[in-house]
Symmetry: D2
Subunit: 341 residues, 4 copies
Amino acid sequence: MISFQCDYMEGAHPALLKRLVETNLEQTVGYGEDPYCRAAKEKIRAACGCPEAEIYFLVGGTQTNAAVIKAFLRPFQGVLAADSGHINVHEAGAIEAGGHKVLTLPQREGKLEAETLETYLQAFFKDESHSHMVCPGMVYLSHPTEYGTLYTKQELTGIKRVCSAYGLPLFLDGARLGYGLAADGTDLTLPEIAALCDAFSIGATKVGALFGEAAVFPKGAPAGFFTLMKQQGAVLAKGRLLGLQFDTLFTDGLYLEISRHAISMAQRLKEILKKNGCLLWVDSPTNQQFVILKKEMRERLSGKVGYEVWQELQDGGAVARFAVSWATQEADLQALEQALA
Amino acid sequence: MISFQCDYMEGAHPALLKRLVETNLEQTVGYGEDPYCRAAKEKIRAACGCPEAEIYFLVGGTQTNAAVIKAFLRPFQGVLAADSGHINVHEAGAIEAGGHKVLTLPQREGKLEAETLETYLQAFFKDESHSHMVCPGMVYLSHPTEYGTLYTKQELTGIKRVCSAYGLPLFLDGARLGYGLAADGTDLTLPEIAALCDAFSIGATKVGALFGEAAVFPKGAPAGFFTLMKQQGAVLAKGRLLGLQFDTLFTDGLYLEISRHAISMAQRLKEILKKNGCLLWVDSPTNQQFVILKKEMRERLSGKVGYEVWQELQDGGAVARFAVSWATQEADLQALEQALA
Amino acid sequence: MISFQCDYMEGAHPALLKRLVETNLEQTVGYGEDPYCRAAKEKIRAACGCPEAEIYFLVGGTQTNAAVIKAFLRPFQGVLAADSGHINVHEAGAIEAGGHKVLTLPQREGKLEAETLETYLQAFFKDESHSHMVCPGMVYLSHPTEYGTLYTKQELTGIKRVCSAYGLPLFLDGARLGYGLAADGTDLTLPEIAALCDAFSIGATKVGALFGEAAVFPKGAPAGFFTLMKQQGAVLAKGRLLGLQFDTLFTDGLYLEISRHAISMAQRLKEILKKNGCLLWVDSPTNQQFVILKKEMRERLSGKVGYEVWQELQDGGAVARFAVSWATQEADLQALEQALA
Amino acid sequence: MISFQCDYMEGAHPALLKRLVETNLEQTVGYGEDPYCRAAKEKIRAACGCPEAEIYFLVGGTQTNAAVIKAFLRPFQGVLAADSGHINVHEAGAIEAGGHKVLTLPQREGKLEAETLETYLQAFFKDESHSHMVCPGMVYLSHPTEYGTLYTKQELTGIKRVCSAYGLPLFLDGARLGYGLAADGTDLTLPEIAALCDAFSIGATKVGALFGEAAVFPKGAPAGFFTLMKQQGAVLAKGRLLGLQFDTLFTDGLYLEISRHAISMAQRLKEILKKNGCLLWVDSPTNQQFVILKKEMRERLSGKVGYEVWQELQDGGAVARFAVSWATQEADLQALEQALA
């Protein structure tokens, strides 16, 4: 059985695994102070066009979001996010466990809009009782969003403008950033993201690595960030495992190359589904595709092709999420095509 | 240059890496629900003689300690630990970040004594103002301790007796558990530890794996432990990486076998150091050796052999920690011998 | 100028102040262990028809809510509340500062409905990824609500039924409980609230006292509650000040008597406003009245009568909150009537 | 029976109660925005010689310490305190509940010494693994200390010098500050404390008020301090009760006057105890006296005079704490004298 259930079902891209094997018995110091981490950081800085960026490597997304947000906020502040944001829904209350409220705003296809943000902030500071309320202290976005959609350069610039007007740091969660950068028609590049954000993450867990997120602070990290990571249990003893993987991903453009492969697979998958009569639930340009599967199609796929049921529908149908990744092969799509036929 | 600075300078035991490579492109579900995690848990249950144990796999020690302790404590409680305990010194305040005080007690060579514990508890509950103080809610031990020493079965039984009398769960941090189980003369086995503790961890990061700690709850885990792990950022998306490594370590006794190798290396190292005139700072039966290095010896080792300076001494000497591991080779010891000669 | 801005603009009912003065130079032990606290607790138990209830006195509402909720929840859990609930809006993130998410549900005129709650809980536990989400661990209601509305006995019983089905403790925030108990037509009494809730508060700050909330646990308090109160800074050194005030309020039915007075003032106020052409925004049977004030009426009241602007409307009008209390006098209403004329 | 058990056994100084009674039915806005709070702040600023100071009124000491410390620290930091410090012992883990470790240092008669502090800080930042440890982020002192002792101007200046060298804010807990300022021979005045500290509290609960602590920030308060107070449940709805009491205490020097009375009572009490053969356990110049009571003396006092047993001694004796206050009368001392005779 082939599964499109999520984009973290395989191990790592072979090039990464190869380097782990080759260097396995080398001795290095721990906690990210090794030469591989240093080299990886240099390559990421170069890819971001941001030689001053401070970069830390963490294992997973929840701990990255929790550490970055805790580092920026003061105790009386909360973080603004789309109500569909990962930190609000699927991270088990990690932000609140750190003492901060997630202040939710309505979104459109997973995207927060500058106007929504501005309207909220204006109303908040006009409210006479606002000092009795959690003060917005930063803005969190996902790119791609939880629905696979992407901000345009104009949209992100608009949000940044509002953030600047209110003195709020902007943090972009890039758990699937590669698939955003490689999408057709996107006009947001790594250097532009680095120029617009105060912090962002470059996810590797879903883009070729065994695990790993790079937290990038283009203007420098908040004081004590390493210690905060340690406190959150987010420092890997054998830090070089992260360095080696990121170094490989950012050598000769591998991160983008494997992302582009996934995007082309996703476009093919979308066509297959559409050709078989599926309506798109969201029109996603990235590696996650959300479609409406009728009951009959679910039956045809049953036992042959896996996907994630996003939402059950009344007639036995479902909103389904199909995720492809760097590891998806043409043969997987053919299997899907056959099952649907 | 050879380094004995710590026991996490290399990657993984080749047998583990081999399995990661072999299974790399298999698809499995995430978050530890895969067959490899299930198999690994079965083998650990068998090794512990504890078929009812609940087991969770985490990436690192700090997050394991933080999650286990937070799961057991109520908000008005703190955790009792030796003042030298890892949670009190080198985890950046992870327990306090979770809202709980580490209540420290004096120790002897890193070991908490049942009598110390009992005296404290008696005095605490006799104190008329104790309801204004943090209430002791569980006991934390390390085995081996931070000084490489080991509890005897009698000592651990004594501590358990006090814990039971006061209704306190007992948690044993086994970040280097293998090296404790394999030590010469120890009378504490995995099944005995499982019988005496409410929770303990089996560390793999320092005993053959790329990373990984198994949190074992012989009598069942506290409610919601998985969600708490997720909240702490301690759930690995590709959970099978942990399952595969633990499954391999607990197949055909590999965990103990490589631990025994390290112990024999440690004993050889100890002899070499003693033969060259070093005094033992602590007499450790495990993989970490603490000795007093005179200034002259430090000069001889300089640039050739690495170790950790535990404490600078006034005359240019130092208390030094030498750590060996599953990866240490006879050749490493010869290099040390030569450097000292 | 007369103000109806809120219900805590004056000091205490004279009978309470008199007792504070009379006992001022007596010596008592601190922290609520004094005879006045004991006596007050007995009287509250009697009024609740609940001789087994455990009762603690705290100074304010935010600290009461924070301590009660923290005492019931485990770290992986959150508290369910109407999105208009005080803990979600006007307590500056106190619940999140304690590590827990406020899980919000839609409401009707401030009231959570049993069906809304049940639908949410069914969906939550059916969701396959629910172990990655904050687990609902208790239910919070306000009675009267933030809009002055009241639950009926049937409604509260319905909510309790859902809570019981899912094993969730039910906590009722009674910051203005007196005004709910004294309202015309309510069928919820103190004994019934005590029978249906696992915890509730009896607010005195807004009902005759200088300050004070009684946290009542009909089936016993969570372990360590006093220590948790202390940790939250919610224990008053001179605890008798709370005991004396509650003892007086619960002697000869003073709490209900002064609440009834406020209710009759509120009904008169409502009539005056309606007579002068105001539309009710919510039809509140308690001491807070929400009406729509047109621009012209705001001008007439300006400088003469104070109220709280709840929401600005587009035409210069506003939703206004008028609050009366135990301290409101007939003369105050006459002043309002004159100003409006 | 007369009791010297603590200094918060009575209500308030009659002058304060009188003002509460006189203003009882006035209407004011809540939360400390009233004219009485404003007036009190002006008088405190004048008494501190510090016209720029920002001042907030809180109800109790634990909440004041918790809010001030949380406001200054970043998540990776802890607070340095003497191991006997109130925040470390008798506040039920309030600082840890806020996420921060209390980093304890040895003390002499309750006093932290500049040299101890400096030695610790030098060693901390020299330690190569310090980024894995809780970073010292501020210094907490009590004045008077928990043993009734006082810092001299030179000592406090020395501590301030070390704080400045390491960029650490200095916070002085003045729960009994009046008794420190009024002590014979002290050379620390309010203006000097304001000049040396980044924050300090002026306690009123034990010095004439029903309750109340003023948090004074001579160089301005950390951002969002009011919201943080609210979050901690430390904002009193009827804030004027605090304003009225502090305004009265700082009118015509009442705070110092009643403190001086207590000091003269304490000196008389000390003489009585010494005359009757008690040894001083600490030689305290303030309102708390610590003496060694032999068994026989305890028997004579039994049922006649109360005190706090600080520590039981082996022969049936005890270290006893006798506390006097603004409310202690000559007759109380005579009763003690008679009982001892």
